[in-house]
Symmetry: C2
Subunit: 373 residues, 2 copies
DNA sequence: CTGAAAGCGCTTACAG
DNA sequence: CTGAAAGCGCTTACAG
């Protein structure tokens, strides 16, 4: 309960403790190693003085003098505030938080909502960057689908420490990230379908241009090569799943791998047309749904280790903060949990046996492990 | 695209622009008033140098030297991250954001979720405060139901600028807030019921101890005095609305004012018992529901000016930041929109006319205006 | 084991 | 109209 006008400083504490200001600094930041450099008695005296004066510390000064703030920023290209789509992002945040808590660092949310609304008035990340406000935090965790390449490039050029949750690219630079291995997961899904006897397999991606779409596409192509199945690339929009169905049926395609929202509406469309799943058509879901649809369908597909991506990103960031990132150690892909369930089955007319499923035991078990690319 | 190892400083900019460091500072912070103190030509030269060097500014230094960061903090005692209850809080945040955007200040979210989970590891606001991290922002907007009095007292004692969204009390100190006038709104609701001929009126509050409950209770008591109705104070829990109904029916009470969640379940209970609303029972809702129940019921009751509370709080905070708050100007209550709809009607057996409703024309119009207490 | 001193990158009077 | 200087509150070598 200080009655002074302005906040007490270390000098104030030092005065009432009868030591020098530098000693106060020592006592306050004493890591285990420096601990022995102070008498326990003076340390206690100083702590008492801290209480007495109501000293709080001045982060700005601390930071300026070269110390860390122990604050990590979180910037999201998606609206963080409650919102339909945000259920998808919640697990990421939980992971980030849990990990931060474990390391005793605080989290600061840089709000980007200017960005996600109308676009008026703000440019999101770049705004924060340009004004130097990003440096309120030692480094930053980024996530969200609508990231901008030039943002990342700018951050990289300025040597600002950050880690993206999800694989991202920037022009001519190595973006640090902790992502999910969509490519491998998609490979396994397509192989699973081929094993079930499907000869013609379709792919529908909601965001084919996006990194997450590119990865799935790459996995699809690879698996098609390996399995010798006939591919059908569909122009994927959630709105026109009817057209997708027509295309598939017209070409004799009996299985499809699709991003979650497309898969869900496609399934409903198919059922509405009297098709039965998986007897007439197998559908596999390439990821977790953005918006939980409350369905209890036993989807075949893979799920994204969102929590682990969050914790992993924080770990990587803290690591980079301690010692500069070495190239090749900045990009990590986590394994997705792949599972076969009730929306995929043997191709119509084929006699794929139960044994077919045993080809990828690992994927069905869904172990999560790191993969450095 | 600087290739230097560390971030460029004003000194670097000054060197390449051929001016002094202080001049760079001037040029960069030139408010309209100081604008005339620089040649347009040198200003341009400096801005060019800023681009060239990739200067970003150092907020810590800026703050330490006495300048503002132009960053406002937002601390919420509720989970900000997507959550059932958060729909209730969204409008507050929208208001806060909109206003901040208008004043060109950025918003920082101090995450408090440590707090809302298990309580392990963190104490929320006090954590931020003690480590001095609150000062990353010039001041702070607070909200959420689970605020701690001692937190506010501590902030006040340290002269940290903040404004609470919602009326809050602290021991022996004047907490700055922009709240909603629950007392007046409740008065109007009860008067409305009395006007409809109800002689016995019940009150059920979910959080009677909380400031928001105390205010409603005060309004209820006042209106009971004025109208001469017989009060019935019910022990309000959402879980036992059945018991509430019994109490009411047993005492011949024909109308009730209740906080939103109680009102909603009470209504369902009543309907289930074959009661008709409002013919047998009038129910008025004292506020907005925390969790939208998706009902399309035309509730009689009042709604909380959440968006305006958000904008008002930011305005007050910015005002206090410019010039220290004068006592008496720190507590504002906004008017709630009161409306009579289909869950309230004439008391059974009474002959209250339509004219009864005209007694409080203002409240029915629901104008929002400030009220300094 | 503790203190005196330099310096972090700014802003803000104060000189010229 | 621009520059030199002090100072914000810390941390971190460097002396004693």
């Amino acid at each position: 309960m200080s009655t002074e006008r302005s906040r007490p400083t270390q000098a104030d504490v030092a005065r009432t403790a009868g030591v020098s200001q530098a000693t106060v600094s020592m006592a306050l930041n004493a890591g285990p190693e420096a601990m022995g450099r102070l008498t326990e008695e003076t340390r206690q005296r100083i702590l008492a003085a801290v209480e007495e004066t109501g000293y709080w510390g001045n982060l700005a000064a601390k930071q300026l003098a070269g110390g860390r703030t122990s604050v990590l920023g979180v910037f999201t290209y998606e609206p963080v505030f409650p919102h339909a789509a945000s259920d998808f992002y919640y697990p990421f945040l939980q992971g980030i938080e849990a990990e931060a808590l474990g390391h005793d660092v605080d989290l600061l949310l840089f709000t980007s909502s200017h960005n996600s609304r109308s676009g008026a008035g703000g440019e999101g990340l770049r705004d924060w960057a340009r004004r130097g406000r990003l440096h309120l935090a030692d480094g930053c965790i980024l996530f969200g689908r609508h990231s901008q390449r030039r943002d990342l490039a700018e951050l990289l050029a300025h040597d600002y420490p950050f880690v993206f949750v999800g694989r991202r690219e920037a022009d001519g630079a190595e973006v640090p990230y902790v992502g999910a291995d969509y490519e491998q997961a998609t490979v396994e899904i397509v192989e699973h379908l081929a094993d079930l006897g499907h000869q013609r397999i379709a792919l529908a991606l909601e965001f084919p241009e996006h990194e997450s779409g590119v990865d799935r596409r790459r996995g699809f192509d690879r698996a098609i090569q390996e399995t010798g199945a006939v591919p059908l690339i569909l122009d994927g929009t959630v709105e026109h799943t009817g057209a997708l169905l027509d295309d598939m049926l017209g070409t004799g395609t009996t299985a499809i791998a699709a991003t979650p929202d497309i898969a869900a509406t496609l399934r409903l469309d198919a059922l509405r047309r009297g098709l039965s799943i998986p007897a007439d058509l197998s559908i596999a879901r390439l990821g977790d749904p953005e918006k939980p649809d409350g369905s209890t369908v036993g989807w075949s597909g893979f799920s994204i280790p969102r929590h682990e991506m969050g914790t992993g990103a924080v770990q990587m960031l803290l690591r980079h903060l301690q010692s500069p990132a070495r190239p090749g150690e900045t990009q990590v892909l986590l394994r997705c949990e792949v599972r076969a369930s009730s929306t995929t089955g043997p191709a119509p007319g084929s006699k794929a046996s139960a044994a077919a499923r045993s080809r990828h035991p690992r994927s069905v078990l869904g172990t999560t492990q790191e993969n450095t690319r």
